[in-house]
Structure formats: C-alpha cells, structure tokens
Symmetry: D2
C-alpha cells in the first residue's frame, strides 16, 4: 500500500512512440512502473500520461531526475511534473460558516485517509474557529467587506506564500476570489459547487432545484478559474429526491453529496491523478 513512489504527469502533442520512449527511459534507469495510464484527447491532439514508479531500485532521485529527463521532455514538447511521495503536499482550507465539508476533510486527515499537511484554515467569519483549533490547526479570520477585499486577499496571499501552500480547498467558501489570486494558483484551487453543474450555477442552487421540481440533485467539484462555476469539473455525484422534499431537505441531503464529492476531488488532486486538458479533466483513478 504505502510504497514509496514517484508520480510523473505528462502532457504533449500526440505522436507515435511516446509511451515506448517514456517507459523505456524508466526501464533504462531500473524503474519499476507500478501504474501507467494514458489518454489521447483526439479533439485537442493532446497526449496525457501518468506513471507511478517505485522509488525502491530506481536509479534516479529527486536530485538528478530533472537533468536526465529534460532532453526527452524537450524532444516531445512536454509539459510535465513529478511528485516524489516523500514530499507531503500542503493544503490550505478556506471556509465561511458551514462546517460539514470542513468536518469531513478534517476527519479524513486525522484518520490518515488524506495524506496532507494543513498549515492553516482561513475564513471570512469566526464561526469555525473553534472547530479548527480543536483539531490543533491554525485559524485565520480575514473578514471581507466591500472596501477591504483587495487588502484581505493580499493578506491571504502572503499567508499562503509564507506557509508554502501547494493547493487550496474552498470548503464552502462563499466569496469570489479575484482574477489575480486565481491566476496564481492555476489548477490548484478546488471548489465544491452544491449543484449538478452546469445546472443551477450561481448562488442558491437548492432553491432553484426546488423551484424547478427536479427529481435528482447533485454536487460538483471543480478547479477554480476566472469563469465562475465554469472551471474543469473533477467529480460529480447525484441522488434522487422527490415531491416530499422541502428546500431544507434538499440542503440536508445535498450536504452528504458535497462532502463526498469534495473529498474525492481533494484525494485525486493530492495523489496526482488529475491532468487538465483545455477546460476538462482527465482523471486517472
């Protein structure tokens, strides 16, 4: 289970022989491939690949991999990254007042299901301070008003940088991040939207679902981009509802979806199982 591995993610223009070249490189350095997944997005002409390589026996390491790998990467015009499992990712969590997603993430973190460090939780309200601190975590309160938003977000960025945050989870954070902030964390901010996107984008999706009389509700996790609720979808889930369900029932039932959908996305991101191609995700699970 807990093999020490390196995870190599690759995207490049599709052409013949890439898999052979990549796996040949790994074999040449005595690497054992534990998982190899690839996908070709024929519409974009893009080849995407994920390799999980056992570190035990592998002749390359964090010190010399990049230099030796670079020529091949250049030859195929690759965007790539490698994650060595010794490096635990650092995840910041932004919340507002609702606690269900936060509770769920913290349980998974405490139980070891989610292998991350959590340098801090930040919120525009005080509501969840107690919960964060009970888990032994740092809590920042950065209240947002119409006039202080830029300042507070600057403060948040400083906190992120100082804490060497790798990715950010919006666990029901009810504020829109500025384009600048979002651009600083491309494919590294994960949001949960409480509807089956693209249905009921925007605020109050359960109220809209109730008004429309749908028979199924859903939740959607996605990477945040500057098009609100339009970023690449990572995971979705749905459940049946019926005429007996009030708006409050939809909200209650939806919480169970939101928790599972968000934590699944966080896990996939943390384990380097997601590649983004244009505005879609390729999820190697």
């Amino acid at each position: 289970m807990a093999n020490k591995t390196a995870r190599l993610l690759i995207s490049c223009p599709d052409t013949r022989g890439i898999i052979a070249a990549v796996t040949g490189f790994v074999a040449q350095h005595n690497g054992n491939v534990l998982e190899a997944d690839q996908h070709t997005d024929t519409q974009q002409g893009e080849f995407l690949m994920r390799l999980e390589i056992e570190i035990d026996g592998f002749n390359l390491s964090q010190e010399n991999f990049d230099a030796l790998w670079s020529p091949l990467a250049k030859q195929y015009d690759m965007r790539w990254k490698i994650h060595w499992s010794s490096a635990v990712k650092r995840m910041a969590i932004l919340v507002t007042k609702e606690s269900h997603c936060l509770s769920d993430l913290l349980w998974r973190w405490k139980s070891g299901e989610l292998n991350v460090d959590i340098p801090f939780i930040s919120s525009n309200h005080e509501t969840l301070r107690e919960q964060a601190q009970a888990a032994g975590l740092t809590f920042h309160h950065l209240p947002i008003t119409p006039t202080n938003k830029t300042v507070q977000e600057g403060q948040l960025r400083t906190l992120m940088q100082e804490a060497h945050v790798d990715f950010i989870v919006l666990a029901r954070y009810m504020q829109i991040l500025s384009p600048d902030f979002v651009a600083s964390y491309p494919e590294r901010i994960i949001n949960i939207h409480h509807s089956f996107l693209p249905a009921f984008a925007g605020p109050r999706p359960y109220h809209h679902a109730f008004e429309r009389g749908v028979k199924i509700i859903g939740a959607t996790s996605h990477y945040v981009t500057n098009d609100l609720d339009e970023g690449p979808i990572i995971t979705q889930s749905t459940m049946p509802v019926d005429h007996r369900d009030t708006v409050e029932d939809l909200i209650r039932k939806g919480r169970d979806l939101e928790k599972v959908v968000l934590s699944a996305a966080v896990r996939l991101h943390d384990e380097d199982q997601i590649l983004v191609c244009k505005n879609k995700t390729v999820v190697f699970d």
Copy 2:
C-alpha cells in the same frame, strides 16, 4: 396483481379533514382502499391525493360514481378524475428516426408490462415504418416542411381525435408541437429529453455535455408545455461518464437512460400515479 380497481386523483386547497371526508365516503359505499397517498404542497397551499379502490365489493360504479361524489368534490373545491381499470388507455407515439425508445416501448407493450392500446405511431419520416408494422401497428407518415407544418399538425390532431387518443408519447420526436396542439393535451404529452434538465436544454445535449466535460450524464421525462424543455419533470436518471467517452459514447450510453426514463414516465402516467401542481409533479409510486 391484476385487481380491478378505480383510481381517484384529487387536488384542492388544503384544509382540515379532507382525508377523513374522502375515505369516509369510500367506506360508506363499502369501498376497500388498496392504496392511499397524499401530499400537501405547502408553498401552493394545495392538497393532492390518490386513492386506489378495489372495485370488487364497491357499491359505486362508473355509472353512478360521478353524481354521488360531486357534492363532496364541490364542498372542497376539488379538481378530480377517476380512472376505472376496465378502460385501457389509448397511447399514440410520435417518433422521428431514432428507434431505441420506440423499440423499448413496443417490447413492454407486447410483453404485457405496459397495459395500453396503441392506435397508431406517427412520424415525420418513413424510417420506422417497418418496425411499427412488424409489431402489427398502424404507421402514419406526416412529413414536416417549413410550409406545411400547420396543415400536417391539423392532420395529426384529426388522427388523434378519430382514434380517441388519451395521451401522446414523444419517443424522440424531433419537432416542436404548436402551442395550440400542446394546449389540447394538457399534462397528456410526455417527452424524453436526452439530458439532465435543466442542464443542456435545447438541441444536441450530448455534444454540449462532452464540451463541458461533465462526469455524469442524464435523461429527463416531462410533460410538454409551451415553454420548451420547461414542463413538469416526471422522472430523471443519471450515469457516470469519464474522459475516455467520446460524444458517440455519450449518445450510446444515453440511449440506455432515455429508454428507461421514458418508459418509467409512461408507466406512471398510465397507472394514474402522477399529479401536477403548478409546474411540478407529485409522483405517487
């Protein structure tokens, strides 16, 4: 299983004592209530009820029920209808070229799963004539052009009237019916939309779903109103998809959803299990 029953559907302003009054009336005439379902739409202040009464032993019949029931119905300001199971409903099917929903409905009809008469199938193309006729059914070809639409729809209405059609199923019928036509069959035209409405309303939903990169697709059956794809939703279903699915895969997988969702709605309608309240359905299943 095949008890002879009368199904009584009621909507009226909500007030105290309706259930007692209605079930008291049935008991007074020695009726045995097999199923009783009720719902109050508190937002609309509307009470909705469905009773299934065993005909065996019931002192009322199709001949005298209406007269004896009317005073109570008036007292509570009810909209109501009763369906006696001896009367098999007459269902017309409109199709274009795609055969999967039609095939599915015909199999259920032939096997006895769906207890309807099918006076005819009508289409704007000849494609499915053979299939209809192989099932021993009448097939009408009413091609639609920009100039003949009114005439052809008039012809269709005549056919409907002559055949004493009770309700109409649009089994992937790729034409929009005129407001007049729709108004003649309120809550009696069932459509299948090949998306999880309200996502991807309008044409080519699978193409839009593919472009958006959703991880779940769906299908929706609904009553047709003059707001396109906005009528009361009857049933919905969803299934997971992933990055490996092409548009063609979505279309193929979606067919399995469409068949099941449409035939479920047809069955519910046929068995008088649906009440409409404003733009929503109450489904007593």
Copy 3:
C-alpha cells in the same frame, strides 16, 4: 419545518374502513393530518399506517389521547404507538475502535440535523473516549473478555435503564449482544453491517468481497435480532468498485457508505418512519 406534531404508528389485521375510521377519529378531534402513509402487506394480511398530526389545534394531548383512542384501537386489534414531538428520544451509542460512524453521527447531532439526546457512548475499548468527551458526552469503558461478558452486559443494561435510553445505535460495535439484551430492545437496536446483506454476512466482508471480485460493494443498516445479520433491513446503499481497488480501498470507500446508511436509518427511526412487519421494514420516507 419544525411543526409540533404527534406521530401515530399503527399495525393491525387488514380490513375495510381502517383509514376512514382513523382519519375520522382525528378529524372529529379537530386534528390536521400533515402526512398519512399506509401500506398493506398482502402476504401477511397486515395493514400498516403512519399519521403525522399537527398538535396546534388538535383537541387531544399526551394526557388524554390514550384513553380516547383505545376503543378504536381495540376494535381493529391494533398494535400502535404515538410519539409527541415534545419528547426528544434518548439514543445510546456503542462503539469499538473505528470512529467514522461515530464522527458522522456526532456531527449530525451537533449541527441539529439529528434531533436526539445522547446520554452516553459506551465502548469495549478506550480508543474513542477522547472524541466522545470532546463532544461533551459521557463515555463508559466496559471492556469485554471471555469471562466477564455477562457481567459487563448487565452493567450496560443498568446504564441504559438509568439513562432512560429509547434506542441503541451500534456504530461499528464489534461484539455480539446476548439474546436477553437484544430481547429487551426489540426494534430498538440499529446496526450497520459493512456489506450488502445477505452477501458477505459475518466478519470481514470487505475481504470476502475482494476475494470474490465483486464490482459493487454495499452497506446495510438493520434492526438487531438474535439471528446474526438477519434482522429487518432498514436501508442499503451500494457503490461501484473495480480491479484496481485493494482490500484497503474497499474498506476506505465502504466507510462513506456505512456513515450515510447508518445515519439514514437512525434518522428514520428517530422520526418514527419505520414499521416492522414480520422480518421486513416498511419505511415511510
């Protein structure tokens, strides 16, 4: 949402006129029926009904209901109970070492989603003491050895009685309760089994599921009877798995099922939505 209501549950031999008699009784005492559900188990010849009556305006109360209702109940040979919403149910939780179901229940309790009092949590291990106490709850440690089981269970029963416990939730409690204990809480002990019963009854269901190579796993909540894993099933849920899932993955994924399935059953029980008929449940949700 938070109407004050009385919930009346009835089972009796099926005969004509019960609904009219019951709803007539309520109407006669000016009760407003908010929900009425009924079901006839034709195999057992048993009629089952649930009424939710608004207390506001109802001429009967906890003080005089029983006396006035009894004649009717006797006439129809009813087993019945009524729950007045002013009385919050008292729920004891038994756990061993695993915390996911307990965490989930406690979050729902703290957030107000689950309207119960929790007099104590008891365990055969110390593992979850901290979690219980952090939630402000009493924690009893009653370790079980082959020789002390009878004594410890006697102690547990005393605690239950002193705390006026209404029902018991086995939130992954890894001990078999004695027949005597079980008989004292008929239809009032809820267990979660970590498989889709009757598949993989008994211990280590995820290991057995892995060995068998199933493509779907499940979880089952049920009332405890003295036939192990054979009690009336309340709720079940399933999720897909595949060849990439190790036993550890099944265990991890299964936790998400277990939490939701158990808390759904607890909620249904707490809101008096379950009736038992022979070895099956009728769930009016």
Copy 4:
C-alpha cells in the same frame, strides 16, 4: 471512431520493464498505440495489459505478427492473444422463454451498437423462434429432457463448431451446461444472473430477495465456470426497491437491470476489454 485496430491482450508474471519492452516492440514496427492499459494483481503477482494499436501505418499484420512477437512473449512467459478488428466475432445466443435480454441484444446488434455476427439462436423451447426469425436469424430448437441432455448438448456443440462460434451468451438460458461443454469455452460463455451475486445465488433470486426484504436488487454478468454462479464477475448493477414492490415488481424492475448488465458484458467481451486473473476479471473500460 471506427479506426481499424489490433487489440493485444497479455498476462504474465510481474517483473520490471514489461511495458517498455511491449511498447518498444510496437514502436519499433511503427505502431501507434491508441490505448494502453495495464494492471498488476499484486496478490497473484500477475501483470495484465491491453494495447490497442492503429493498423494504419503498423508494419506488422495478421500474417507476420505472431512469428515476430513470439520471442518477446516467450521471454516474459506471456499468455497472450491479439484480435484484428477486421475479424468480426461470432456470437451464439442461448435462451429459454424470456425475451427481454434477447430483444435487447438484437436491438443493439441491428442498430450497429454491437458489432458481432450471430450465426444462430438456440433454445430448449420454441417460444422465441418467431422473434429470432423476424430478425432474420437462424433458430434451433433443442428441447432438453432428463434423458436426452447429453445428446442435445452434443448436438449444440456440433452447431457451435460448424458455425465457428467465438463466444456464447446465455440470455436467460435456464439450463446448466455440462462440465465438458463449459471447459470447451473457457472465458467465452457469458451468463446473466438475476441477482447481485453472491447474494441469492441459485434459482428464484427475486423471490428470495422479496422474502429477505432487501432495499436494493441487482444483476450480475459473469463468465460461466463449473462452479455454478461462481465464475468471474464481469459487471454488476443495482437499483433501489421498497416495501411497496411485490415479487412481480422486482421481476419487472430487474429485467431493466439484466438487459443493461448483460449487454455491457457482451460489449466488453466483444471489444477485448476483459482479462481474467484467477477467478476475477480485470476490465479495461
């Protein structure tokens, strides 16, 4: 969509460098890998791989592939097969009296969704002859009695051999095939069982599910082995049921599961997406 491809399936003891060796071989002969999937069953120490290679541009063909590939296959002790998409598989269907699975398969075949040839349909009853012949297919009636079973199965095997049948689908065939017959078609006979195996193995699963009061029913497709209902599971699906469902309802609802589960398995087999490892399937979908 309809690329001409060769599909190469490999199983062998797990060791380093297999992917590099295999994809290197393909690249060396100018093959373009469209899909590459691999899995290691760590419990069995078995490496399993599926490659889909574009035929266009590939320097190898059905004529010379085997000779050139053999040395590599031997080196790694591979079991392997290759399927060239020019060869349409030949599928025989065995049925008894129930038509829903047959109808479903025939619709998919006629519509082009399922790319197979169907040399014949065989049954122990005459019931479905008309349906088979209406589809333009040969129908054999081989009635089974306690005394003629061996003879009739011999006759069936002759028919299979003469028709060069590649695989056999038991579309609700209510007879147990003899060990000899089964051994002749290893991993090439697909059955649909109308329960969520291993629950309710054996006959009348819906009746048993009804008796047990389960809240979910299922269906299972699997390869037939000589352990009844114990062969490697290919696909499963489930759906919710409740106390209102009679046995007849379970049977009716289950048909929708059975159709989809069986045809999914047939499609996966036809497209060479299934590898068997011990008694489990690895499904590369």
